[in-house]
Amino acid sequence: GPPAPERVLFPPTFSVSEIKNKQRRHFMFLRWKQQQRKEKLAAKKKRRKEREALGDKAPPKAVPKTIENQRVYDETTVDPNDEEVAFDEATDEFAPYFNRQTVPKILITTSDRPRGRTVRFCEQLATVIPNSHVYYRRGLALKRIIPQCIARDFTDLIVINEDRKIPNGLVLSHLPDGPTAHFRMSSVRLRKEIKRKGKEPTAHAPEVILNNFTTRLGHSVGRMFASLFPHDPQFIGRQVATFHNQRDYIFFRFHRYIFKSEKKVGIQELGPRFTLKLRSLQKGTFDSKFGEYEWIHKRREMDTSRRKFHL
């Protein structure tokens, strides 16, 4: 079609969508878009010039809106000075861990008949979490192995569910009668798939970073993760395991860090990585029928707002 003129004049009640011919309509729309873009650019330039002209007296830059900024305020957000929360945490199921009365001992297992990827993932996870053991399922019922685990002094149970040869679910259960969390696992990357990775993780106890767990629910989930690792990390190992919560997705990473100066630190990713999304939190140990659910993700009620998050 003809090139767009500088200023396009339209009758005032004209709109691009009224043209019946698709080709012409498309063409007019593109022209309109180009014009919008030009105007926007001109407006930006003008604003920038004004800002420079004002110099110091310019009004401060507006903060862009992000989803995190616009997040719907959750009334269960934990205030760091809240005494009630502190009291609850002192008396809940993780108190023995945080008082250093128990040493974490983890059992990692899978669903029936795990395939190669899941098996390798379990092995790598076992190297990342100290004092963990991998046992294969062989068709045993979870309800029956839980009492056996408690008898053998395990503190946590991790079950990795597999579907079509990839791990896609994680059940984390704190054993002596602790809460059970069921997660959906996605983007699992084994060690060999991570670019620029380092050597194998050593057996030193890693540090734990828990980011962005703000609500009560987030707090309890965060403590669950913290209780997997030994309470005293060995700083010689310089390893850190991170659980970062962003918009209800928990990203797990395992790095080795080094301080190049006191303002600069370099990190190198070892170890597997995966993301989790909480599906349900149950009060007792794993019991799908009669368990008391503290929180279930209900899609119809909870996924209605884009800016509402629960962790």
Binding site: A141, S187, V240, T242, H244, D248, F251, H255, S261, G266
Partner: protein
């Protein structure tokens, strides 16, 4: 008569229940006793016939006789068999007394097979059942997209680095990492305030104290300005020169860090290498900074 029926359906014409494969013919008729398409197993081509069928876990014996051939509705007579295996077999025997051996035998065989698979079903339902949860494509796609966006928004590397530096600040690592840079900057500031002729002994003491304490100077700008000041000042003390080079080395390293992969133990050795440098040429590094 059955012979004619068989000659039609069995061999020549079309039987809708017949399924042929390379080696065998099967019969899809639900009343068929063996499941194969034979002269003796075809329920259509035999006027006296019996089968075992199971419904909802209970087994029934179905019988067909010539007398009722004209009444399709009453054709098949049904007898509920006992739950007890032996008693049911006796029931079959007494109902099919005087019937051809073939039908009796096959009925009992079929009954045995059926009870076996019913037992298996009951056992399996006691064990763990696999629950199939259907995936919803739209939701899967939505979750995947949201996860990607959340990953971008998370800026994991930055967050982890920040957290680690915070922990370093809060002294959770104790004495493992000693960065005498604090001491150096603090000493510099003091030196700028006072005159240069202040004794080296004082400075040494401050440096020693500075090593144990953790103090923070403001951002990188102060380092550069310190360098410029350093060049203006004429220092003679060895310590300051050593630390200057250390700092410069470190600054150079941190500027040129780029994306080089870390080799943990190898990198760790660098600070020690820097100490070696301290004894080497000083004026060259000074000109570099200038």
């Amino acid at each position: 008569s059955p012979q004619i029926v068989w000659s039609m359906l069995g061999n020549r014409q079309f039987c809708s229940y017949k399924m042929t494969t390379k080696t065998q013919n099967f019969c899809r008729n639900e009343y068929n006793l063996t499941g194969l398409c034979n002269r003796s197993s075809c329920p259509l081509a035999n006027s006296q016939y019996a089968t075992i069928r199971e419904e909802k876990g209970r087994c029934y014996l179905y019988m067909k006789t010539i007398e009722r051939a004209a009444f399709p509705r009453r054709l098949w007579e049904r007898v509920l068999l006992n739950k007890n295996y032996e008693k049911a077999l006796e029931q079959i025997d007494e109902n099919l007394i005087y019937w051809p051996r073939f039908i009796r035998h096959k009925c009992k065989q079929r009954f045995t097979k059926i009870t076996q698979y019913l037992i298996r079903i009951r056992k399996l339902t006691l064990k763990r059942q696999r629950k199939l949860v259907p995936l919803r494509r739209k939701i899967e796609r939505r979750e995947k997209r949201r996860e990607e966006k959340a990953l971008v928004a998370a800026q994991l590397d930055n967050a982890i680095e920040k957290e680690l530096l915070e922990r370093l600040k809060q002294d959770t690592y104790g004495d493992i990492y000693n960065f005498p840079i604090h001491a150096f900057d603090k000493a510099l500031q003091q030196q700028e305030a006072e005159s240069e002729s202040e004794s080296d002994a004082e400075r040494e003491e401050e440096d020693d104290e500075g090593v144990d304490k953790r103090e923070f100077v403001e951002a990188e700008d102060s380092e550069l300005s310190d360098f410029e000041d350093m060049d203006k000042l004429e220092t003679s003390s060895e310590e300051e020169q050593e630390e200057e080079e250390e700092v410069e080395k470190k600054a150079l390293h941190s500027k040129s860090k780029g994306k080089t992969p870390l080799k943990g133990p190898a990198r760790r050795k660098r600070p020690y290498i820097e100490i070696e440098y301290e004894e080497e040429t000083e004026p060259t590094t000074k000109t570099k900074a200038a």
